[in-house]
């Protein structure tokens, strides 16, 4: 594995590792790591960094929905065109072209069910290429971005053992 792969893997594990801690873990120089991260960002490999939040642990009410989208295309319109049009809405958290019974898988986030429903019916459904939407409201979350929600396991090992 190259240092570049190592750095990418460690950032995916925890984007808040300091440059020094990444360097220590892969026996590299902190300046070298700094350079690799700058390259990864400049080349568009690393698009950004965000916290993984369990909204159930906050006072705030968050509503998320997974929405299936079906589209019909014509000679002038491609999947990319439709995707760009939809992805520009800030409420859209993620958008993927998928195989199977529908074309796009979209995740939407809002403050209330009404807001999310309104967004889908007023902004998404009217897009001419979109022929059908199926909305699944998320009821509970167990794992996201590889991170388990819930209390986690206690370390029940003996504190000192041979």
């Amino acid at each position: 594995m190259s240092s570049r792969d190592d750095v990418l893997e460690l950032l995916r594990e925890n984007a808040r590792y300091t440059v020094e801690d990444i360097a220590r873990q892969i026996d590299a120089d902190a300046n070298e790591v700094e350079g690799i991260i700058a390259d990864l960002e400049a080349e568009g490999v690393v698009k950004g960094y965000r916290a993984v939040v369990d909204w159930d642990e906050t006072e705030e009410e968050r509503v998320r929905a997974a929405v299936e989208l079906n589209v019909t295309l014509d000679r002038e319109t491609s999947y990319n065109d439709v995707a760009e049009r939809i992805a520009k809405f800030p409420k859209v958290e993620s958008l993927h072209l998928v195989s199977g019974d529908y074309d796009f898988m979209m995740e939407v986030e809002g403050d209330s069910m009404r807001e999310v429903s309104h967004f889908i019916s007023e902004k998404v459904a009217p897009v001419p290429e979109i022929t059908q939407t199926v909305t699944h409201y998320m009821m509970d979350s167990y794992k996201e971005s590889g991170i388990f929600f819930g209390d986690g396991d206690d370390d029940d090992r003996l504190s000192v053992s041979p």
Partner: protein, 381 residues
């Protein structure tokens, strides 16, 4: 009446680790780098297979030597991984942890009055096991100058030429030392010259970071005189499931099985089902844990070097073995627990040659490891 404890047991002092366990238990916010087992759980596929076996009512004894399917898989695994060829019917014995295997080997192959040369520092059970079997212990010290590897001269000087058995463990607990095939050849040469039987504890074989593991049994003329111990505790994070195995020529495993069939009957059945699945499908999980250990290892070695604490570059298991900044490592470890709530184990708990060193286990998540190293840095300032 009072019980009259046997002389064998009286001859063995309680484990030196116990005291540090008790000290550590008294602290609330302890971060322990004193743990000799993985912080990971067994891979989910292995746990799932154990659960499924229970659902299917697989709760009876197995064959004394272990389920045949498991022995076949072990044979494939050690062949693929370590170029070791053993017959599943006659040369493999599945035990309740590698520890049971070591005890069986002593009892089956050591007579009262036999001399057993034991590499030091070493895992805490090797010396008591010899005493329980009635043998005489001959310590063979390894030194930090040799990165805790056994050498031909070291064996010679310690008088191991007159021993019947030599016990060694690489990758090593507590030092994290490893030995390459070339380095082991010196030991093999000595064993062949002096007709020693070798007990080779290879429980950490999958956890080497600088070079691939070589089993001493693969060296010329060694297979017929070597008993290899391995198991699922470390690489597969299955310590509590208690499952190990012994690889040795038929006469040795048959003798060991004679004791095993009367005392243990068979290794835990549920664990055997977990182990079959572990060998079948958990290579990736093992590789992932190994990557994590290696990163922590580099982290810990970097931090010690930044603190100016000498630590040889341990290349295996999940231990670093730095030199203690104080002359008295026991006092250092005690005070480190009391003042900074960080537990490490002084090297003296692992026999001769461990004095003046600390065993620092990096089988702990990076966040805790970071905090612990920061506290150690604070402490030595």
């Amino acid at each position: 009446m009072t019980f009259d404890v046997s002389d064998r047991v009286d001859a063995v002092p309680p484990s030196g680790i116990r005291r540090f366990f008790e000290l550590a238990e008294e602290q609330d916010d302890i971060i322990s780098l004193g743990v000799g087992e993985p912080d990971f759980s067994a891979p989910w596929a292995a746990r799932d297979a154990a659960i499924a076996s229970l659902e299917q009512g697989k709760t009876s004894y197995t064959a004394n030597r272990g389920r045949r399917e498991l022995r076949e898989q072990i044979a494939d695994h050690v062949d693929r991984r370590y170029d070791l060829q053993y017959d599943p019917d006659e040369e493999i014995l599945v035990t309740a942890g590698a520890s049971e295997g070591i005890d069986l080997a002593y009892r089956a192959l050591v007579d009262p009055g036999d001399t057993v040369a034991v590499q030091q520092p070493c895992y805490v059970s090797y010396v008591p096991g010899v005493i329980f079997a009635g043998g005489d212990v001959l310590p063979v010290r390894t030194h930090v100058e040799d990165e805790f590897k056994l050498t031909y001269e070291g064996l010679q000087e310690s008088g191991a030429a007159d021993a019947e058995v030599l016990v060694l463990c690489y990758p090593n607990n507590p030092t994290g030392a490893t030995m390459t095939g070339d380095e082991l050849e010196e030991v093999a040469e000595f064993a062949r010259e002096h007709d020693l039987v070798v007990f080779s504890d290879e429980i950490y074989a999958d956890l080497t970071y600088e070079h691939d593991h070589t089993s001493i049994a693969t060296l010329p003329g060694m297979r017929e005189r070597t008993v290899v111990f391995n198991g699922f505790s470390k690489a597969y994070a299955m310590t509590g499931l208690r499952l190990g195995y012994v690889l040795a020529p038929p006469e040795a495993t048959t003798a060991m099985n004679r004791i095993h069939q009367y005392t243990m009957l068979s290794a835990p059945t549920t664990a055997q089902y977990a182990a079959i699945e572990a060998l079948e499908s958990c290579d990736d999980a093992v590789a992932e844990m190994k990557t994590q250990y290696d990163r922590r290892r580099q982290f810990v070695l970097s931090r010690f070097s930044e603190m100016g604490i000498d630590c040889f570059p341990a290349g295996g298991a999940f231990y670093a073995f730095p030199e203690c900044p104080w002359d008295d490592a026991d006092a250092f470890a005690e005070q480190l627990i009391e003042e900074q709530s960080v537990a490490v184990v002084p090297g003296s708990a692992f026999g001769e040659g461990g004095e003046g060193h600390l065993r620092v286990s990096y089988a702990t998540g990076l966040d805790e490891l970071k905090e612990a190293m920061a506290r150690i840095e604070q402490f030595v300032k």
